[in-house]
Every structure is written in C-alpha cells, then in structure tokens.
C-alpha cells in the first residue's frame, strides 16, 4: 500500500518559497523548487521592494494575492517561470501585528489533470466573498466557488472566519456546504485546510487550500495550537489536528502531542516565528521529502502553526 502511496505523483503546487524582509527589500530565505533548478537560481538572485513583483505586492497591499497570468503582469520572473512551465502563483503575507515577517509564495503549473484549489476569501457586508482563487483544471468548481458566499460559521471559510483558527476538513465531496460539495466531489477534492490571514488594519482574509487525491497539495496536514490561552507562557505548541495518508489520523484525544520552541521543524517555526520550506531535512516524517510550516498570527501573537508535507 505504501509503495502505491509513495510513488511520485503530480502535485498541485510545483514551487514553494519564503521571502523575508532585508532592509527595504524582500530576499529569498528558503524554497522548494523540485527539479526546476534554473528557476531556483534566478529566484535566488532576485529581490523585491515593497509593492514590487508578486511578493512585494502582497507586502505592499497587505493581503494575499492570486496571480493567474504572468504575461504583461507585475510578475518579475515571467520568462524563467514560463521556461519552467509555471503559470500561476499565490503570495501570502505573514504579518505579526503591523510587522511583515515573510511572504510565502506558491507557484503552480497548469495542465488538464492537476486539480486543487487555493482560494482567498474576504469579508464584505458580513459575508465572505471569493476575492480570487487558483483551481487548475477544476474549472466547474472554480465557477461554483465564484458564485458562492459564506456567512459566519458556514463552510470551511465561514468556520475559519468565525472561530479565527485554522481548520482541517475531511471528505469535502460529501459536503461541507451544499452548493460546493457536489462540485468538490466531482473535482476529486478531498481535504481542505482553511486558515485566517492576519494583516494590519481591519480587513478579514481567509485562505483555503483544497487538496485532491490525484494531484495533492499535500498528503499530510498538521495544525498546531500555540496560543498562550492554550499553552500558557511556555513557548510550546500542541497538535490540534492532523491527517496523513500514511499514518491516518495524527490527533489523539487522550494523549497530547507537544513541542517546544526549536524542537524539530515545528519548533523551528515556533522559535523563529517565520515560515519555513524544508526539503529532505531531518525531522520530516518518513515517506515525505518536503515540508512547509506556516505561522498564523493573531495580532502580534503567534497563535497557530499549519504544516503540510509531500
């Protein structure tokens, strides 16, 4: 069974990178480029001022940004991206209060089979509306999503918004929201990760990553709770939820799983307060080669960490 699960698959996200402030510019901190060596090299030589390029735009406008067409856009690495077959990108700023900690950028390659969804929802008139999203080949699901809105507490986006906490949904096809479930099922979407994106000001953003079995965003997801309201003054995090195609459920309602700052990869996110992208690093669970750890802030407090593995 593991052999089947572990064979290389087409993944929805090709490249993941973390850009961090260095003076008045963003520079590359870490990234997973897979086999796209040339694009990795060019990216390492790049930097972005506030408002410049995709990472700079996410920083300047203090919001997650979806870019589905590089040609003629503000995207700075268009030629290199095209050469690598990359067609779309999403940039997510990580703010601690008013301070930018980093920008996480994911890049995807379009084809007829890769389905999944990376969506940005924003509040308007007390409803969450789709600001933008990248869906790959899941065109019908994209259309349905564009015509869906979520009140507080409803569906993955509405649930994240109301609870102000990341959430992990299973069995998307069996319906977490009537209108989208049917379409999600047809698109093969199975697991949904939703997370609040904290930005300066009073705007509300919710990011959702919907993963399909055939072309997964990840095969293992973890949610860690690091709020002082949960773990006290210790710089710790406890596993709140998790699912893995190899190990099954990661949560345990009887035995708490806890890490401290700098303890393992989650501890690295906790200690540094920064997102990480790791490849073939110690601490990545067996059967996986890549890990993304993203801190979720509530104001200036590092409240949660979400991690996904491939």
């Amino acid at each position: 069974m593991d052999a089947v699960l572990d064979k290389p698959v087409n993944t929805f996200i090709e490249v993941t990178e973390v850009w961090v402030p260095d003076g008045d510019r963003l520079v590359l901190d870490s990234g997973n480029y897979g086999t796209l060596k040339e694009f990795a090299t060019i990216s390492g030589q790049e930097s972005f001022a506030k408002g410049e390029g995709l990472p700079g735009k996410a920083w300047g406008e203090a919001r997650p940004v979806v870019l589905k067409e590089f040609d003629g856009s503000y995207f700075k690495r268009t030629e290199a991206a095209k050469a690598a077959g990359l067609t779309s990108a999403v940039a997510v700023p990580v703010f601690s209060g008013d301070t930018l900690k980093a920008v996480l950028v994911v890049l995807c390659a379009d084809d007829d089979v890769r389905t999944g969804a990376i969506e940005v929802w924003t509040e308007k008139d007390d409803l969450l509306m789709l600001e933008d999203g990248y869906y790959g080949a899941a065109k019908h699901f994209e259309w349905v999503s564009q015509h869906t809105h979520f009140p507080r507490g409803q569906g993955l986006p509405g649930g994240v918004w109301a609870a102000n906490t990341p959430m992990l949904m299973r069995d998307l096809g069996s319906g977490y929201r009537f209108i989208r479930s049917d379409s999600a099922g047809k698109a093969g979407l199975t697991t949904g990760l939703g997370l609040p994106v904290s930005v300066p000001g009073d705007k509300t953003y919710v990011l959702t990553l919907l993963s399909a079995r055939g072309t997964p965003i990840a095969r293992r997801f973890e949610l860690w709770d690091a709020r002082s309201a949960k773990v006290g003054s210790a710089n710790d995090a406890v596993l709140a939820d998790g699912i893995c195609t190899r190990e099954g459920p990661l949560w345990n309602d009887e035995k708490e799983r806890r890490v401290s700052a700098w303890q393992g990869l989650i501890g690295k996110v906790l200690g540094s307060g920064m997102p990480i992208v790791e490849r073939d690093a110690p601490g990545i669970p067996a059967g996986y080669s890549m890990m993304v750890g993203l801190p979720i802030y509530q104001g200036v407090e590092l409240a949660h960490i979400v991690a996904w593995y491939l």
Binding site: P151, R152, G153, Q154, G155, L156, G158, G159, A162, A163, N164, T165, M167, L168, M169, R170, D171, L172, S174, G175, Y176, R177, F178, I179, S228, A229, K230, V231, G232, S233, A234, D241, I243, G248, P249, W251, D253
Partner: protein, 816 residues
C-alpha cells in the same frame, strides 16, 4: 477457555476488552453483541464527524482486523432479547450464546421530551453514527433550517456541526444560560457570544411546547407562543441509562444497573460497565470514569483485585475555537470565596472557588492554559494558602513574589497600547502627564483621549498617573458601585449604553467585574439600568430583584406580606370596597389600614395566599399598586374643582390620568406623585417626588420633594397651561430621572446632584430634549404596563409562592 459474553460494543466495553487482551489474551473466548451494525468507535468524536472535521474512518477504535486478531465473535446489528440467568445464556435475535461471565454494557439512550410531534420524520436524537449521518443528510437540503433542543455539550456540538455544514441553526435552551451544569452565568455569556458569532441563534429560558408538522417536521412551537421553522429538530437534552434488559433479567436496578466497586451486579457472574451503571448513587455520562470502570472490570474478570472510585471530572467542549474548562463545584456557599479574572478584550474569564484553603471548583473561558494544573489542585485537594494571591494567574506565576499590578504597568514598554479605542500608547500618556502638568484623569482624557471612549482602560491610565506623579495624582473621588467594580454608577450607566450591553453577564464581563455574579448591591442596580435602557430587548432578571419586587408584595417583620391594590388617584367605589372586604374575610386577613397614599393596605397575608388574593382582586378590576416597587407608587389627589369651592382645576382627573399613564414604570427609587387643586395644597404636592399645584392660569409643576428620612420642600420646575402639557412635562422629567438616576437614589438627591438649573433647562427650555424624553418614556411604557399580579395568577414564578419559611432581608421598606 472461559466464555465471556459482552452486550454492547461501546467505548467502555471496548476499553475493557483492550485491557483484558493485553493482560491475558487467552483468558476468555469473547462473544460481542452490538445493536448497532458496527463495532467500537470513538463516540465522543462524532461531533467533529458531523462538522466534517473528522471522518468516520478516523474515529473507528476497533476495526474488523482487531476483532479477528483477538478471536472475538462479533454479532453486530443483532439485538439481545433476553438473558436466562438459570441456564447462563444470552438470547440474541439469531440464537443463544452460553456464558461463564457476562458483561452488560448497554450504554444509554437519548432522552426524548414527551411533546406532541416528537415522532415526526426529521426529529432526531444525537447518540450514534446513524443519528450523525441522518443529520448530515438533512444538511443536503437547500437553505435547510435546524432547531437544536438543548444547549448542553452535545447540543452545542450538534449546532456548530450543522452550522458548519451550511444550515441555519437555532438552539433553544430551558435554562438561563448555556451549559448551566458546567458553567456559571459569566462563562455562559461568553460561550453564547462565541456560538452566536458563528451565526447560530440562541434562545435561552425557552420551553418546547410542541413539534409541528404534518408528514414531517416543519417547526418547533415554544411555550411563549413563538414558532421556529425547522426542517430538522435535534433533541439533545440528556441521556438515560439503558437498563431495561438488566431489569427484565431480574438484576437489581435503581436509576441504572446497580454495581459494586468491582462492577459486579446483584448476580455475581454478571457485570456492568459504562453509562448503564449506577455506583453509590452516581450515574456516568463522561468518558473518563468509564475508562476507569473498564480497567477495574478487566482486572476483576482476570481475578485481580481492584476497586472503582468516583473522581472529580472536568469538561471540555469540542467546538473548534471555543476554549472552555470546568471542574469541581462552583456553586456559591457559606465559607466559599471566589477569585475572578476577566479580560474583555480577549474574551477571557477565569473563576476559582476556594473553600478552607482548598480549590474546590474552577470555571475558565477563553484561556484554558492552566486547566490541567487547576484540575490537579481540585482533585488532590492541595492547600493553596501560599499561592492564594497569584493562584488565578496560573502555574507559571507560582513561587515568585506576589504580583504588584503597578509594577506590571511600570514594566510595559512605551509603545504598549493602553487605550484601544483611541490608539493611545503608554509613552504618549506619560509624556503628556509630564510635559503638560496633568494631574487628573479628566486632564489626561482631554489632552490624549485615553480613557475618553469606553473607559475600560481607566484603571490602567490611573496607574500610569500614579507611576508618573506619585502622590501628586488627584484620583477622582467617584465611589465605586460596590466591591465588585471600581466603576461608579454614572460610568456603568454610560458604558451600558455606549457598549450596547444588554445582559447582566455582558456588563460584568465587558466592564471587568471582580466577582463572578455580582452582589446584592450591584445586581439589582444593573437589572434596573438594563430595564431602563433597553426596554424592548432586556429580559427582566427577577432573581436580581429584592424579595418585595420578586413577590410583588411588601414583606413584614413577621414574614407575612401586605397587599395594596391600585386606587387610581385615590378614588374608589363601593364595588371595589366590597371586593376588598370579601378578600379580607375569605383569607382571614388580620389587619386593614388606609395608607398615606390614599389606598387600602391589607396586612398579615400569607405568601402562599398571594396569588389567590390577587385573582379575586383582579376579578374586581384591581391591578397591583406597586407599593413595593422602585417605580411609580401613588398619585395622591384632592377632590379639586369637581367638589371643592376653592378648586381651580380637575386635580382628581389629572391625578387619575397621570397614574394611568405612568403606572408600571420602573425608576431608580420609588416615585410618589400628588396633584392639589389649589395652592391650599390638600394633597401635599409640595413634598412629593413630583407634585402639581393647580392654579387659575394652569398647572405648576413641582419636583424633588421629600417627606421621609429627609424633609424637603419641592423645587418648582415651571408652569404649564394645559393638562396635556402637564402630562408631557412630568413624563419627560421622570424619564430624565430614569435615565440618569443612580439606583436607590431618590429624585430629590438626583436633582441636587445634577443641578436644578440643568433639569429646568432640559425639561422646560429645550423642547427637543423634552420631546425625546417623553417619546422614550412612552416607548418604555409599551413593555412596562403589564400587571404583575395577573401574570402570577396565570402561573408565572409560581415557585416563589410555595409555602416555606421566609427570611426577611435586612432592609425592609415601608409600604408607602
């Protein structure tokens, strides 16, 4: 190998089998019956399955491989029809199985409220996977609406799950706040706020009358007459142990199957475990004691000794984003002391209950970081005397020097935000105080805006001023309402309006009350302020009223009551007098007295007779005289121009009109009116709260008189020409007092505090302000003019009138 038969494949029996196989896999040949067509799964995780946050596969505890690996003969989906103890066999639907030892683990079944319509399709309980799947199926209907009956753990989890699945959800709950068994009122308030923030409607104090629908459920009717439309009704009002099989077998059954500490029933070869058992009078609904029972039973079956003991339990709710914890006993009681911490900005409430230097209960909402530590202190009965001062802050604060709140403020960095409303940081305040020579809070408010909006940072700003100025700081001399808060009455009233606080728990949480539920001083005051400010929305909290206002009569020194019906303007008729006489005779009322307010007082009435007396008086047309109320009492009149040679106007008519217009209104303290027909003033209008002296040119309005502990003549408000104007001006005046008075502050004290000129300016000179006061009074009266006597004759608050010993409160007020 001995034969073990287990009836019920739930969590308790499953854990028992795990222990059994772990200790001695070959001890028993096991046959496992389960009425559900599946084996053991983690039932308490059904809520995340309902919400979509877990899949069923994730919560399966024992799959087919596990049962096969342990040689368990599974008879799932088969009901047990009987137990033949003589032949030692269990009878299933598909045949018998012999046992050497038998374990009954039949669990519990949901309690179904016996109301009409409970059997309609679309009405479900919430107990197992089939119920969960039925609910998930119901969410597939477009715009589906659900009503969840019961705001306990299970009901709330069901509601949150259904909401996440896209339904419009209403929770109806019988008690005054959610999860009342596990949470106090303050934590219940925060929980309700969190639940409502998910778009779920919560109705408390709601009693289900019937479930409506023809071929399937269409709605829920409540006792108050309202109807809530529904496509799905979830009953989550509790569970009942499933003990019928044991009872039919002849085992000893009380409220559940009676077991000893070895989990043995009255038959030595039959054991019981889980929610179906009763041990030393205790029933079980949470999983922790079930697992303890399972461990004990496994040992017992293997011939090892062990004994089950009941331990303290704690509660956690599985609704993502709702952090709550409750353990121990948090009821108020003599010798018990509360420590309360509130942080309104973070929605945090912590309450610890201490008795004889031991922590006996804890309730936490919004911050449960130290819950395990507090639970350990409760369970172990540890002496906390040494930690008393810092206990509330949790484990990491123990062992150091006691916290000095001023030192904590001193340690804040300059850019720490002090006033969230206006974005003012510590450095700005300190600099303004230093460079501009500010010495009072008002100065700081004027120069920096800190503490100028909602005011909840006032304490912090004052501490900063103390730090900066030392004894040069001139603290405001406003006395706090009571020991529960540092805020004065004015500040509380202002914040109730600006923050739109509409319940007592909301006031206490958002204004950082230092106690969990307030005290006898602040609760009645808050109840009045909320009744006054939100007449349409606020549900009067009778428990926050003094005894006289709870029973709508005046308690006397011997524990009996006096009854004073309203006599409009002091007028009566022979029929009314006969009715009173009949009541006096019928109920053997020992004393009848005319009051100073021109009414008749019946004294020496037994509490339990009150509703019957009111019923008889009501038939004669009487309503309550509110002789006990902080509200409008009497309107005394003279006979006026109808009869008197000196009368200038119809003083009786005006008095009756005023009384009929204003009765029922709650005020900060009692309000008595009088109307005199001429300056000879036979109705003594010039020593009343509000008085009218009729003159040839119109009506002279007086107010702020007193003839009780203080004697004071009235102030003249002004002269108006018509009766209509008199009614408008007096109503506006009373409304102004209602909105600005401190609770228990008579009108003459209020007027002196805010200034007679200011009262005259707003009522006599500012027509717009007067009209606004009048309109608000009229609006408020729409909700106030309900006769409390007739309500209670109809059965309201009937528990108050059961015969029992009465304990007069220390302060007993005069009737008039």
């Amino acid at each position: 190998m001995k034969r073990l038969v287990v009836i019920g494949a739930g969590m308790a029996s499953g854990r028992m089998l795990e222990h059994l196989f772990e200790a001695d896999p070959d001890a028993f040949q096991v046959t496992l019956f389960n009425a559900e067509p599946r084996g053991n799964y983690n039932r308490i995780m059904l809520s995340p399955v309902l919400s979509g946050e877990k899949s069923y596969e994730e919560i399966v505890t024992h799959d087919d491989d596990w049962y096969a690996g342990n040689n368990v003969t599974c008879r799932f989906g088969e009901r047990v029809t009987g137990i033949d103890r003589e032949r030692r066999v269990v009878c299933g639907e598909h045949g018998e199985v012999a046992y050497d030892k038998l374990v009954i683990a039949t669990g519990s079944s949901p309690f179904i409220i016996p109301v009409e319509g409970r059997d309609l399709p679309g009405v479900v309980s919430y107990r197992d996977l089939d119920d969960t799947n039925a609910m998930i199926d119901a969410t597939g209907l477009p715009n589906a609406r659900a009503v969840v009956i019961g705001g306990g753990l299970l009901g709330l989890e069901a509601a949150a799950g259904l909401r996440l699945r896209g339904m419009e959800v209403t929770i109806i709950h019988l008690a005054g706040h959610l999860m009342e068994r596990q949470l106090d009122e303050a934590a219940g308030y925060l929980l309700q706020k969190d639940i409502e923030n998910r778009g779920i409607r919560v109705i408390t104090r709601a009693s289900t009358k019937a479930i409506l629908g023809k071929s399937r459920v269409e709605g829920v009717a409540l006792e108050d007459g309202s109807v809530i439309p529904a496509d799905l009704v979830v009953m989550a009002v509790g569970i009942r142990p499933s003990a019928q099989l044991a009872k039919d077998t002849g085992l000893e059954v009380g409220r559940a199957i009676t077991v000893n500490a070895s989990m043995q029933t009255s038959d030595p070869d039959i054991y019981a475990v889980g929610e179906c058992v009763e041990f030393e009078g205790t029933l079980f609904g949470l999983v922790a004691p079930l697992y303890d029972q399972a461990k004990v039973l496994a040992k017992e079956l293997l011939g090892e000794g062990d004994a089950f003991v009941v331990k303290e339990l704690s509660t956690k709710l599985k609704v993502t984003g709702c952090d709550l914890f409750s353990a121990g006993d948090f009821a108020e009681g003599e010798g018990r002391e509360d420590i309360v911490f509130r942080d309104p900005a973070r929605g945090v409430y912590r309450r610890l209950v201490i008795e004889r230097n031991r922590l006996v209960g804890a309730v936490m909402y919004g911050d449960t970081a130290d819950s395990n530590w507090f639970f350990g202190l409760i369970r172990d009965g540890e002496d906390i005397a040494e930690m008393r001062e810092t206990l509330i802050f949790g484990q990491s604060y123990q062992g150091g020097a006691p916290l000095d709140p001023t030192a904590a403020v001193a340690a804040l960095p300059d850019d720490a935000e002090i006033c969230g409303c206006n974005g003012v940081c510590k450095g700005t305040i300190v600099e303004a105080v230093s460079t501009k020579g500010l010495t009072t809070l008002d100065d700081v408010r004027a120069h920096t805006k800190a503490s100028a909006s909602c005011g909840t940072c006032t304490g912090l700003v004052e501490k900063l001023m103390v730090l900066t100025l030392g004894d040069a700081f001139e603290a405001a001399a406003v006395p706090p309402m009571c020991k529960c808060t540092d805020l004065g009455h004015d500040e509380v009233r202002r914040l109730i309006k600006t923050k739109e606080l509409k319940t007592i728990p909301a006031v206490m949480q958002e204004l950082e009350w230092k106690t969990s539920c307030g005290c006898a001083k602040c609760r009645p005051a808050l109840n009045y302020y909320l009744v006054s400010d939100w007449p349409e929305e606020y549900a009067d909290d009778y428990q926050s009223r003094f005894i006289n206002e709870r029973v709508h009569a005046n308690i006397q020194k011997d524990g009996t009551y006096s009854v004073v019906p309203r006599m409009w303007g002091g007028q009566t008729t022979s029929a009314e007098l006969r009715a009173i006489a009949d009541v006096v005779d019928k109920f053997n009322i020992p004393s009848v007295k005319c009051t100073g307010g021109q009414r008749i007082d019946m004294l020496g009435v037994k509490k339990e007779d009150l509703p019957a007396i009111w019923a008889d008086l009501g038939k004669a047309g009487f309503v309550s005289g509110h002789a006990y109320a902080k509200g409008l009492r009497t309107v005394k009149t003279c006979v006026g121009s109808d009869w008197c040679r000196f009368g200038t106007q119809d003083s009786t008519g005006l008095g009756v009109r005023l009384e009929k217009f204003m009765w029922g209104s709650w005020t900060p303290a009692k309000v008595k009116l009088a109307v005199s027909g001429c300056p000879r003033n036979c109705a003594e209008a010039t020593c009343k709260d509000v008085g009218v002296v009729c003159v040839d040119s119109g009506y002279e309005i007086h107010y702020a008189g007193a003839a009780g502990l203080d004697i004071k003549g009235t102030e003249v408000l002004g002269l108006v020409k018509t009766e209509d104007e008199a009614v408008e001006y007096i109503s506006a005046l009373v409304q102004m007092y209602r909105e600005q008075g401190h609770y228990l502050e008579r009108i003459y004290k209020w007027a002196k505090r805010i200034g007679y000129d200011e009262v005259r300016r707003q009522i006599m000179e500012d027509a717009e302000a007067r009209k606004a006061y009048f309109d608000r009074f009229v609006f408020s009266q729409k909700f106030a003019q309900v006769d409390p006597w007739s309500e209670r004759v109809s059965g309201k608050d009937k528990h108050e009138f059961k015969p029992m010993a009465s304990f007069p409160e220390s302060k007993v007020e005069a009737a008039e």
